[in-house]
């Protein structure tokens, strides 16, 4: 589904250059849930941002469904993000001025073939899918952490992407909400999607099909 080859990334810190990823190569498949673990500062968030085309790698290649992404310009990458990738963040990243269903509808605005009525219907369906009923017209501040994260999951599914990237999706949640969210992500991974989660949380590893460890700037599969 998504293949990275020889990915390198470093950051400038003061007068020094700190390398975070060094020749990272891996192939992520559909119908799988991946969990990327590693020490704080190992480069997990950097890796997921590269996978999500949110930051640029220094060298290496990214291939999504057989398509070379590196050569694409900013406009084309934005399109890929919209169609192929769904994002879930630790702090939910919802728009506080939009109701739950409006947040879910947001990625759909780029599809000019769909009417607003259909967008709204789809948003309601997705919210139902993640277990949010009668909360569609609530603003994020009126929802609990778990509910907000479920809205974020529903939004990530707006355009039926093949890849879901989640950066510490349970970081701000209580145990009950964590289990609920992980269950949803697990179900999604079984629907021909590739779900990649970055997390410190040991509970996430239990749900993963494959656990990867980012250590010494490299990515290795870890025995479960």
């Amino acid at each position: 589904m998504i293949t990275i080859k020889n990915i390198k990334k470093s950051y400038k810190k003061g007068n020094h250059r700190v390398e975070v990823l060094d020749n990272v190569t891996y192939s992520f498949k559909s119908n799988s849930l991946y969990c990327i673990i590693g020490k704080s500062g190992a480069g997990k968030s950097t890796l997921i941002e590269i996978l999500g085309l949110l930051i640029k790698e220094e060298c290496g290649s990214i291939n999504i469904k057989g398509r070379e992404i590196n050569s694409l310009n900013e406009f084309e990458k934005a399109k890929v993000r919209n169609k192929e990738i769904g994002f879930i963040f630790q702090d939910f990243y919802l728009n506080p001025l939009m109701k739950a269903y409006e947040n879910v509808m947001l990625p759909m605005y780029l599809d000019k073939n769909i009417t607003n009525k259909k967008r709204k219907e789809k948003a309601y369906e997705l919210l139902k899918l993640v277990g949010l009923v009668d909360r569609e017209t609530h603003f994020p501040k009126e929802l609990s952490g778990g509910e907000q994260q479920r809205v974020a999951i529903a939004r990530s599914l707006a355009n039926n992407p093949n890849i879901i990237l989640a950066d510490e999706p349970t970081g701000s949640l209580d145990s009950e909400s964590t289990v609920a969210v992980l269950n949803i992500l697990k179900c999604l991974s079984k629907e021909n999607k590739c779900v990649i989660i970055v997390s410190h949380d040991d509970r996430v590893q239990k749900y993963a099909d494959v656990v990867l460890k980012l250590e010494d700037k490299k990515l290795k599969e870890k025995d479960k």
């Binding site: 900013e74 406009f75 399109k79 993000r81 919209n82 728009n95 990625p107 605005y109 000019k112 607003n116």
Partner: protein, 404 residues
Amino acid sequence: MINYLKLTFFQLRKKSNIINAILVSLAILVVIGSNYYKKFYNNFKLNDSKNYLATYMLQVDKREDLTNEENYNTLKNIENVTNISYMYEFSDVIHSDLFKTDKFSGDIQIYNSSNESLPEIVKGTNFPDNDGYYMVCPINFYPESLNNIKYYSKKDNFNLDSYLGKEIVFDYNGYMFSRNLDDKYKFEIPIKLVGLYKNANNYYDESECYVNKKTIHDITKNEYTDLEEDYVYQINHPVYALNVSSYEEVEKVEMSLEKSGYNYNRMFYFDENETQQINNTADLVYNIAIVIIFIFIFLVFQKDYYEDKEYYRQLNVLGFNLKEIKIIYFISLLIKVFVYFLFVLVITIISMLVIKILTINYPFILSKLRVLYSFDGIASVILIFIFNVLLSFMIHRHIGKLNV
């Protein structure tokens, strides 16, 4: 096509937008207000003043080496002199019971005039050519002494329309009446109201009427009843009142008078330098206001941007490209400007209504305030907004950009 408007309107739900709108509207009003203040002084003091007849009238002493007739003819031949009268029969106060009400005393000021020196007639005619008693009065008319007229308001106006073309009987007393309360010193004169003139807006001319020479001559003559010696003295030692064609020609006439060896002074000295200084101050205030308001609106726009910055980044994460995000940002700027203008319009209309009510119902001093619709001020505000929108758009041209 993407529903850009819908995507813009979400951010307009921010509560701070209302506060920003109020602050920016007030800032705009400062610009429009200071422009009004500037225009007010330009029009009111500088231009309107020149419409008041007294500002282009001169009082001239007789040259003792010439006879009365020679003096009169010399002065008459000076270019731009439209009327000559004698100070002893130049102005007076007369009374009519027709104008006397519980509000008004019925007294009016009259001035010697000719057709060449009358103010602009807006209803009726100027003086007919034949011998008779004629007058023109102001369209805003208060038959009351000068000291009191400032306490009236517009709604108190004594409407002269029904008296136009009719004779009004006035009464007046001879100078001897105060010493000797004899009815023989009480006089009446029927004067025909032939026209109404446009008031000068910045002076209290609401009780000032202009009469033809014969009228004031006959009134004055009667006033000197049993004071013939005094009357003859006045005739033999005249001081002249000259009407000049316009304010702009006064200096030329003064030069001619000087050349001809006459002493003179202006009946109403209008200090142009002082007014110009005030006008310059008003200009300075206005220019400073423009700069400050420009900076203020710029800062409001930047504050707004930084509050919405995350939204634009979020759109990019979700797949909107930079061009689409810029369009959304640009539309949001335009909508905000439109809303600010709407606020200003509402506040301006309310203010105008308040001023209108004040000027109709409250003292006269306020009623001289004219509501000037100044397009300069509005044009300045529009320009400030255009520059700020373009500047913000340029500064934030990488809006929402990710490092890809």
